[in-house]
C-alpha cells in the first residue's frame, strides 16, 4: 500500500504538481491518464525518487517518507520505474544493463547470473523475444530495447518488488508484444505487485486497469474503478469543465483579410485526403499529444515542402523554436544582434551590415513587443525567460517572412507575456502573415482559425471555427488508430 498526500512540485515559476493525493493498493493496476503537461511524469519521477517533492508526504508500506526520499531508498523499498525515454546504456550488453540496477550482482560469475536473470524475465514477459543476454543495446531495435527495459524492471534479486511504474511502455511495441505485456501485468498484479500504467492508448488502460486516475493541471481530478469509465467519460474527465479566459474569437473581420493560399501539404503516410492548408492572414494550429509529428511537419514546411508558390521559400519562412536555449537564443550576443540575425539581407550595404538599421529594427520591436530591458545592447542572457522568448518573436516578426512557423513557443512563459504575444500574432495575421502554430496548450488553440490534430505523424482530424473545442481536440488526440500499428 502506497499513499501520496498533498504532493506539490514547483519548477521555477511553474507549478507542475499542485497537491496530489493518490493511493495505490497492493496487487492493483492503476491506470493514469491525462493530457500533456498534466503532471503525470513529474508525479512518477517523485514516486521513483528521481525528483524530490517540494511539499507533501509519501508513505510506502508504512514508511513515512518526506524530503530526502531518493532513488536508493526507492530501490530498497522495491519501487521500479520504466521511464518514457529509455534508461539503458547503449554501449553495454543486456546482462550488463541488468547489473546496473542490481548492486548485488557482483563478484565471481556475476555476468552469468545477470544474464540468466534477465533472460528468464524476458522469457516470462515476452515469450519469443529474440534477444540474447550478450547483445549490445545499441545494436537492438527500439522495440527490443523497450522490451529489455520493461523486463529489467520486473527482475528480482535481493528485494521483492512492490510497485512497477510503466510510463508509456507500449509506445514502441507492436500490438502483439503490447498484448504480451498487458497479460503479464495482469499476472503480476495477481501476485501482489502493484503496477501504475501510463498510456495514451485509452483502450489499453480500460482493458487492464483496476482503477483509473485522471490528472489535469497538476492534480488528480478523478479516481474511480475502471468499470465506471468508458472512452468518452475518460476523455471528458481529462478536459476542463470551466471555459476560462476570453480569447478573442475569430471574427468576421479577420476572415476578410484572408488571401491567397500559401501552404498546401500532405504529411507523408496520410491515409485519407486531409491535408494541411494555410492562407495569407490565417493562424493555423497544430494540436495533439506531444511528439506526434507536429514539429516534423513544421520543419518540412521550413524546408520548402508544400509552400506556394513553390520556390518562394527564401526569406519566406521563419521559425520560432520552442526550446529556446537549444535552437533559439544566441547566448553571447546582445538583444540587438539576436533580433537582427534573420533580417541581415535587408540591412546590408555592400558587404557590411548597417548597424544603425539593425539598431532601428531592434528598437522598434523592443517597443512594439514590450521587451523589458533597459537597452537593446544588453546581453540577451540578462533577460528573463519570457523576455528572451519575446526577442525570438521579434526576430521572426521583424524579418520579411510571410510564413511564421512556431514550435510550441510558449513553453515556460508566464501568462502576462503570453497575452501580449497573442495580441501581436493576431495583429500580424490581419496584415497578411500566415502562422503555423504547434501548441500543447488548449487555450492557445482559441486564437487559431483552423486546427490540425496530429496522431502518429499524420493529421487525424481537421477542426475549424466553433468546432475547435477542447473536447474535440482530445477526442481526436486519443483516436484509436486501429490496425495501423
Amino acid at each position: 500500500m502506497i499513499s501520496l498526500s498533498g504532493i506539490q512540485k514547483v519548477f521555477g515559476a511553474v507549478q507542475a504538481l499542485s497537491g496530489v493525493d493518490l493511493q495505490i493498493h497492493a496487487g492493483e493496476c492503476l491506470g493514469l491518464v491525462g493530457h500533456n503537461g498534466a503532471g503525470k511524469s513529474t508525479l512518477m519521477n517523485i514516486l521513483a525518487g528521481t525528483l524530490e517533492a517540494s511539499e507533501g508526504s509519501l508513505t510506502i508500506a508504512g514508511n513515512g517518507l518526506g524530503k530526502g526520499y531518493l532513488v536508493q531508498e526507492a530501490g530498497r523499498l522495491g519501487v521500479r520505474c520504466v521511464f518514457q525515454e529509455l534508461s539503458l546504456c547503449p554501449n553495454l550488453t543486456v546482462a550488463e544493463n541488468t547489473r546496473i540496477i542490481h548492486p548485488v550482482l557482483k563478484g565471481f560469475g556475476w555476468r552469468t547470473r545477470a544474464g540468466l536473470l534477465i533472460m528468464k524475465q524476458l522469457d516470462q514477459v515476452f515469450p519469443g523475444h529474440g534477444v540474447s543476454a550478450s547483445d549490445v543495446i545499441g545494436d537492438l531495435s527500439i522495440s527490443k530495447r523497450q522490451m529489455v527495459e520493461i523486463a529489467r524492471a520486473f527482475t528480482v534479486t535481493d528485494t521483492d518488488i512492490r510497485l512497477v511504474i510503466l510510463d508509456e511502455p507500449t509506445s514502441s511495441l507492436d500490438s502483439r508484444v503490447a498484448d504480451q505485456l498487458l497479460k503479464y501485468v495482469n499476472q503480476v498484479t495477481g501476485q501482489g505487485v502493484s503496477v501504475i500504467l501510463i498510456s495514451h492508448l485509452l483502450g489499453e488502460i480500460l482493458q487492464v486497469s483496476d482503477r483509473i486516475a485522471v490528472m489535469k493541471d497538476g492534480r488528480v481530478v478523478a479516481c474511480r474503478n475502471a468499470a465506471d469509465f468508458d472512452r468518452i467519460s475518460l476523455v471528458e474527465a481529462m478536459g476542463s469543465t470551466v471555459v476560462a479566459g476570453a480569447a478573442p474569437r475569430r471574427g468576421e473581420e479577420t476572415n476578410a483579410t484572408i488571401g491567397e493560399e500559401r501552404i498546401h501539404m500532405r504529411p507523408s503516410g496520410q491515409p485519407d485526403d486531409q491535408s494541411i492548408r494555410a492562407q495569407a492572414g490565417e493562424v493555423v494550429g497544430f494540436a495533439g499529444l506531444a511528439g506526434q509529428g507536429q514539429t516534423e511537419a513544421l520543419l518540412s514546411v521550413f524546408d520548402g515542402h508544400g509552400v506556394l508558390p513553390s520556390g518562394a521559400r527564401d526569406e519566406g519562412c521563419c521559425f520560432i523554436a520552442g526550446d529556446r536555449q537549444v535552437d533559439g537564443v544566441l547566448p553571447l550576443w546582445s538583444i540587438r544582434k539576436n533580433i537582427g540575425i534573420s533580417s541581415l539581407r535587408r540591412m546590408r550595404s555592400g558587404m557590411l551590415i548597417q548597424s544603425e538599421r539593425e539598431l532601428e529594427l531592434a528598437e522598434a520591436w523592443k517597443e512594439r513587443i514590450g521587451i523589458r530591458a533597459p537597452d537593446v545592447e544588453a546581453p540577451i542572457l540578462s533577460l528573463s525567460g519570457g523576455n528572451q522568448q519575446k526577442v525570438l518573436f521579434a526576430r521572426a516578426l521583424g524579418s520579411a517572412a510571410d510564413i511564421v512557423l512556431m514550435d510550441d513557443p510558449m513553453r515556460g512563459v508566464d501568462v502576462g507575456t503570453k497575452n501580449e504575444v497573442y495580441t501581436i500574432i493576431r495583429q500580424e495575421a490581419s496584415q497578411g502573415r500566415t502562422f503555423l502554430w504547434y501548441t500543447t496548450e488548449m487555450e492557445e488553440l482559441d486564437y487559431c482559425d483552423r486546427v490540425y490534430v496530429f496522431r502518429d505523424g499524420i493529421v487525424s482530424e481537421t477542426l475549424t471555427g466553433s468546432d475547435i473545442t477542447e473536447e474535440n481536440v482530445l477526442q481526436a488526440s486519443f483516436k484509436q488508430v486501429s490496425g495501423a500499428a
Binding site: V71, G75, C89, N91, L92, N97, I101, G107
Partner: protein
C-alpha cells in the same frame, strides 16, 4: 552457422581492425628489415611503445566517461621529472608527490562533473600547471632514474621480449578490470548514459573521480617507465603523448563519446603508432615526417572503420 555469421559481421571487423593495422605495419617493417625479426630487434622496436601504451590507457579512462585529457603529455613529463629527482633522492617525498597527483586528478574529475565544465578547457589549463611544476623541479634536462626502475624496465626474460609481455599484460589486466568486472560496467555506463546510472542510484560523481584517479595512476606508470628507459628526464620529454594517446584510443576502436572503448585495441593502437615511426626510419625518411605519417595511418584506419560502419548500416 552462427560463428560464420559473426566473422562476416561489422562488429568483428571493427574489433579486428586495430590488430590488422598493427600486423600490416609490422609486416612492412619485417619486409624492409628482416633482422628486426629477432628478440633484440623486437625489443628495440617496441621498447618505447610501453610508456605510450600506458599513457593511451590513461587517456582511455577519461574518454570512457565522454571527457578528454589534454594534459596527459605534460603530466607524464612531470612524473618523469619527479622520478628522476625526488623519487631517487628522497623517495618518501617522491611517493607523496605522486599520490598528491592522483588526488589532484580525482579532484579535477569532481570539479568537471559538479560544475559541468568542458573537460578540454580544464585539462588544457592543467597542462600548463603540470608543465610549470616540471620546469620548476627540473629547469634543465638531467636527473637520473632510480636504479630499481632501470633494472625493472631493462629486465630481459627468455624467449619473449619484455615490451611484448608488458603490452599483453597491460591489455589483459585493463580489459578484465574495465570490461569484465561488475564495477567496470558502471564506469563504462557513465559514458553510455549518465542519467541511467544516476537513476539506478549510483553516484556519477564518485565514478568520475575514480576514472580520473585511474588516469593519473596509469599516467604515473607511463612517466616512470619512460624515465627508466631514458635514464634521465626533461620537462618536455612526453609532450607529444597527449595527441599520441588520443590517436591511440581512437585507432584502437574507441569513440570520443558514448563509452565505447577497447583496452586491448588501445594498446594495439599505441603500438601501431610507435611502429609507424620506425617504419619510416627504415624507409630512410626524415623523422620530420613522422607526425604526418602517424596522421596518415589514423586517417586510413578511420576511413576503413567508416566503410565498415556504412556497410553495416546498409544491411
Amino acid at each position: 552457422m552462427n560463428g560464420l555469421r559473426f566473422f562476416a559481421s561489422a562488429r568483428f571487423w571493427r574489433g579486428a581492425l586495430p590488430a590488422l593495422s598493427l600486423t600490416f605495419v609490422l609486416v612492412g617493417v619485417f619486409w624492409l628489415q628482416p633482422r628486426a625479426m629477432s628478440y633484440f630487434g623486437l625489443n628495440l622496436l617496441f621498447n618505447l611503445a610501453v610508456p605510450i601504451a600506458l599513457a593511451t590507457i590513461a587517456q582511455m579512462f577519461v574518454i570512457a566517461v565522454n571527457d578528454l585529457d589534454l594534459s596527459i603529455g605534460s603530466f607524464v613529463s612531470l612524473v618523469a621529472c619527479i622520478g628522476a629527482t625526488w623519487l631517487r633522492d628522497t623517495p618518501l617525498l617522491g611517493i607523496a608527490a605522486l599520490l598528491g597527483c592522483v588526488a589532484v586528478y580525482a579532484a579535477l574529475g569532481a570539479l568537471i562533473y559538479i560544475r559541468q565544465l568542458p573537460s578540454i578547457v580544464v585539462t588544457l589549463g592543467m597542462s600548463f600547471v603540470w608543465s610549470g611544476c616540471a620546469v620548476l623541479l627540473l629547469p634543465t634536462p638531467g636527473g637520473s632514474a632510480p636504479d630499481w626502475i632501470r633494472t625493472l624496465v631493462s629486465y630481459k626474460p627468455s624467449y619473449v621480449p619484455m615490451p611484448l609481455l608488458a603490452a599483453v599484460a597491460l591489455g589483459l589486466v585493463v580489459h578484465f578490470g574495465l570490461m569484465r568486472t561488475s564495477w567496470g560496467v558502471l564506469m563504462r555506463g557513465v559514458g553510455g548514459n549518465e542519467k541511467a546510472i544516476t537513476r539506478a542510484g549510483w553516484s556519477v560523481l564518485k565514478l568520475k573521480m575514480v576514472m580520473y584517479a585511474l588516469t593519473a595512476v596509469f599516467g604515473i606508470l607511463a612517466g616512470l617507465t619512460l624515465v627508466g628507459l631514458a635514464t634521465s628526464a626533461d620537462a618536455n620529454i612526453a609532450l607529444r603523448y597527449t595527441l599520441l594517446s588520443i590517436a591511440g584510443v581512437i585507432l584502437g576502436g574507441g569513440e570520443f563519446v558514448g563509452g565505447r572503448i577497447s583496452p586491448v585495441g588501445a594498446v594495439l593502437g599505441a603500438m601501431t603508432l610507435t611502429l609507424t615511426a620506425s617504419f619510416l626510419s627504415f624507409l630512410r625518411i626524415s623523422p620530420d615526417w613522422q607526425i604526418g605519417a602517424q596522421g596518415a595511418v589514423l586517417i586510413i584506419v578511420l576511413a576503413l572503420r567508416a566503410i565498415v560502419n556504412r556497410l553495416e548500416a546498409r544491411r
